[in-house]
């Protein structure tokens, strides 16, 4: 597939305060590059991520949304990411069911020590979303042009 050089996706990355946000900081401290398309929103725990936020991001023009949290079992609040995992699994499955490209949403567990993994994940996710192009489908679900 031809990658559109012009197109820069908008990516919202929700990061839990304790692991993934710190992992993102570590990526910075180690000067690991990843595209500026990624903008991080700090939340206390991955379980704070309301599906509303994801849909809202898509509504306002995000092309991809990624959630990063502590690895299962390492949650600062002991169980938060387990709930987040179920919620996101079901939500992503629903989006897929509606015909939205499933590559636009993703969950990745990144610990505070995994700066490299954070940067790698973001690089990969941005290129995946860039390949998909602009997110139109959620918007288009409603507008029947025929």
């Amino acid at each position: 597939m031809q990658v559109n050089q012009e197109f820069r996706p908008t990516i919202a990355a929700f990061c839990c305060n304790w692991c993934s946000y710190a992992g993102a900081d570590l990526a910075g401290t180690n000067r690991l590059q990843y595209p500026a398309d990624v903008k991080i929103i700090r939340i206390p725990c991955s379980c704070r991520l309301n599906p509303l936020f994801i849909l809202r991001a898509f509504q306002r023009g995000a092309d991809g949304v990624i959630l990063c949290g502590c690895h299962p079992g390492d949650c600062h609040y002991t169980t938060g990411n387990y709930y987040a995992r179920r919620r996101m699994t079901l939500l992503f499955s629903m989006l897929d069911y509606l015909g939205i490209e499933r590559e636009r949403t993703r969950v990745e567990w990144v610990s505070a020590a995994e700066g490299a993994k954070f940067a790698e994940t973001m690089n990969e996710f941005v290129s995946t979303v860039a390949r998909l192009g602009e997110n139109r489908r959620l918007e288009d679900l409603r507008c029947k042009s025929e």
Binding site: A12, D25, G28, A36, K39, I43, C47, R48, Y83
Partner: protein, 663 residues
């Protein structure tokens, strides 16, 4: 009307090299609500902080956005600075333009653009920030120590020393724990009882310490500073206040065949008993499983001989309800059962003993009066084989434990040394996999056993022990010598692995303290917070956290006490104000939030609401205890109506950030 001040930091060249700070502060100045925007070399410096404070006072700022390094770095700094200038600290937001912008981008145009967007998101959020005040909760100035072994005693003594009342709950009739059963201690070989019993007496005599023996914790409610605990004090059928501990009843009781747990069942005690001479409290206890009077209603000998009139066959369990500010778990350890290790013939021969049993056989207060005799025939043993790591370091399977029990190398060396010292006519073999002696004077001690006392240390695990004609045929391999050994031993001593006491798991559930797969309590941080559990207000002392020897246990007990004292010395605890909050008008009372809350911070009340036509309507609504809530936000997503929201990270705030980023 919002008056927001924006402060863009250069961080020397850390930010300024890839972000055009001038452009950023200019762009952000045009954002709605922003009345002031500037940039400065080092915002976190005194001069930078002074500037922020000055602008807050001068312009009456209602919100501050600082574009700088990660909030994990300086959020607290800037919040403090703003608070000093009279701005609520929670009206400060940080845009992370260093770790998450300047440091990861090379192109200045790209970096600048992203920094502006991150700044916008912070401005959008701060517009919706509400001033938050950290709540306060009072602290009950009383501590509970669960477990009265050396760990619990030491913790209690240290807390009492600082002037706070402490209760020790011990499930056995006496405090003292495992250390009372130990004969000598390594590496100094001083007598365990000689150093422990004075501490037990200290604990008993200390006005601040209340010992609740023969009791168990049944229920724990509340949170740090405000625990409410229900303790069941089991009936011992003896009035503790009347019993003088004379012991006459324990001599006269006709039921003589009760296995004596203090001597690991190597001899018998009576149905009414005092575990050992130095027991604290020194009070008799009737064992209801064996007492003829309690079982059949016929006997009553102890009651007749008791001059103090302390015997009370109708005594009931007593429930004690008490409030505490802090709880220390000191539940200790148990040696694992040897039943599954057929290869060592533990169940087949009484001459195969565990190290704790051996400890009793060497002890002057033990079943043999301190003379080492074979349990089977009471004869003096000549050849002794010690086997280390029995059940420790096992991979998988239900037979053993995956961890190193830590204390076995040293006590085995001690046993071997003491045997050789007392009975130079014996041959002593120690079979080991590794000898681990990291501790002060530990390796010297082990070397002395080998060099001075001539203990035969053999590298290799014992493969088989078979009782034959009154001897124990030990088959083992000397891996370093490259030969197979067949030893006719008189006694075999197994260094059984240790595991957490069985009462620890249910206790952890009550305390909502976490445990590892081996049922040891987990610490809040393995390195930096070793005596605190992740649950605030719950502390760990001794072997319930992991295998430990006595000096380590005492050190940790003291550390736990220091943490408790630190907590109890405060009159109030400030709570993180970024906690969940339920809007009662919208709450359905469906309990979804309660189910996902890891801290039990949510409770329900029935509340009256005004209904239509002057009616009242009673509805079940959620309430969050701000002192318990840690602010994870799990409840906010479980709540379908959005009645539950998280202060500081509210739905509206996060949505505003999303909007700012996705524009």
């Amino acid at each position: 009307m919002q008056k927001i001040g924006v402060f863009v930091c250069w961080c020397g060249s850390n930010i300024a090299a890839t972000v055009d700070v001038e452009t950023v502060s200019d762009a952000l100045a045009r954002e709605p609500g922003v009345v002031f925007s500037t940039n400065y070399q080092y915002m976190c410096s005194q001069a930078g902080q002074d500037m922020i404070q000055e602008k807050i006072r001068e312009l009456g700022l209602t919100g501050v956005v600082i574009c700088s390094c990660s909030p994990r770095m300086h959020e607290a700094t800037f919040r403090r600075a703003c608070e000093k200038a009279g701005l609520n600290p929670y009206l400060v937001e940080i845009a992370n333009i260093r770790e998450q912008c300047s440091w990861i981008h090379k192109d200045k145009a790209v970096g600048t653009e992203k920094a502006i967007i991150l700044g916008r998101a912070a401005i959008a959020k701060v517009q919706l920030n509400a001033p938050l005040t950290a709540g306060e909760s009072p602290v009950t100035k009383r501590a509970l120590v669960i477990g009265g072994g050396i760990a619990g005693i030491q913790t209690a003594l240290d807390i009492a020393e600082a002037g706070f009342p402490v209760d020790i709950v011990e499930k056995k009739p006496t405090i003292g724990g495992k250390m009372t059963q130990i004969d000598k201690t390594f590496p100094t070989l001083d007598c365990a009882a000689c150093i422990l019993t004075p501490k037990m007496v200290d604990a008993a005599q200390n006005e601040k310490i209340n010992i609740i023996s023969y009791a168990q914790v049944e229920e724990v409610a509340g949170f740090v500073g405000n625990f409410s605990v229900k303790i069941r004090k089991r009936a011992r059928f003896v009035d503790e206040t009347k019993c003088t501990g004379c012991g006459l009843c324990t001599e006269k009781c006709p039921q003589k065949n009760v296995p004596n747990e203090f001597n690991q069942g190597l001899d018998n005690r009576r149905a009414i008993y005092i575990p050992f001479a130095q027991a604290v409290p020194k009070v008799a206890t009737i064992d209801p499983n064996y007492c003829t009077m309690l079982k059949t209603g016929k006997c009553g000998v102890c009651s007749k001989v008791c001059t103090a009139g302390a015997i009370d066959y109708r005594q009931q369990d007593e429930i004690i309800q008490q409030e505490y500010g802090a709880i220390v778990a000191a539940t200790g350890f148990e040696p694992i059962s040897m039943e599954k290790f057929d290869e060592f013939a533990y169940s087949q021969s009484p001459d195969v003993v565990t190290s704790l049993e051996f400890e009793r056989l060497m002890n002057a207060a033990g079943p043999t009066g301190g003379t080492l005799l074979r349990p089977s025939d009471g004869k003096h043993p000549h050849t002794l084989v010690f086997v280390q790591c029995v059940g420790s370091r096992c991979d998988g399977g239900e037979k053993g434990k995956p961890y190193c029990s830590k204390i076995c190398c040293m006590y085995t060396a001690k046993h071997a040394m003491l045997t050789r010292e007392k009975y130079p006519d014996t041959e002593v073999y120690v079979f080991y996999i590794d000898v681990r002696t990291p501790g002060k004077n530990f390796d010297e001690f082990y070397r002395r056993a080998v060099e001075e006392y001539g203990v035969h240390y053999v590298k290799g695990m014992v493969g088989k022990v078979a009782p034959e004609n009154g001897k124990l045929k030990v088959q083992a391999s000397d891996l370093l010598g490259g030969r197979q050994l067949h030893i006719d031993a008189d006694m075999v001593v197994l260094a059984a692995a240790i595991e957490p006491d069985r009462s620890a798991r249910p206790l952890a559930t009550m305390l909502t303290a976490s445990m590892d797969t081996n049922d040891f309590f987990t610490e809040a941080h393995p390195k930096l917070r070793p005596v605190e559990s992740p649950t605030a207000g719950v502390f760990l002392s001794g072997a319930c956290q992991g295998p430990k020897d006595i000096p380590e246990t005492v050190a940790q007990a003291g550390a736990a006490a220091a943490k408790v004292i630190g907590l109890l010395s405060r009159d109030h605890l400030t709570c993180n104000p970024c906690v969940a909050e339920s809007n009662e008008l919208m709450c359905n009372g469906c309990s979804a939030c309660e189910k996902v809350c890891p801290y039990g911070a949510i409770t329900y009340i029935d509340k009256e609401f005004r209904g239509p036509n002057r009616t009242t309507l009673v509805r079940r609504v959620a309430q969050v205890n701000p002192a318990v809530c840690q602010g994870c936000g799990a409840c906010t997503v479980a709540c379908p109506s959005g009645a539950m929201d998280l202060k500081g990270f509210s739905n509206a705030q996060i949505m505003a950030e999303v909007d700012a980023i996705c524009k």
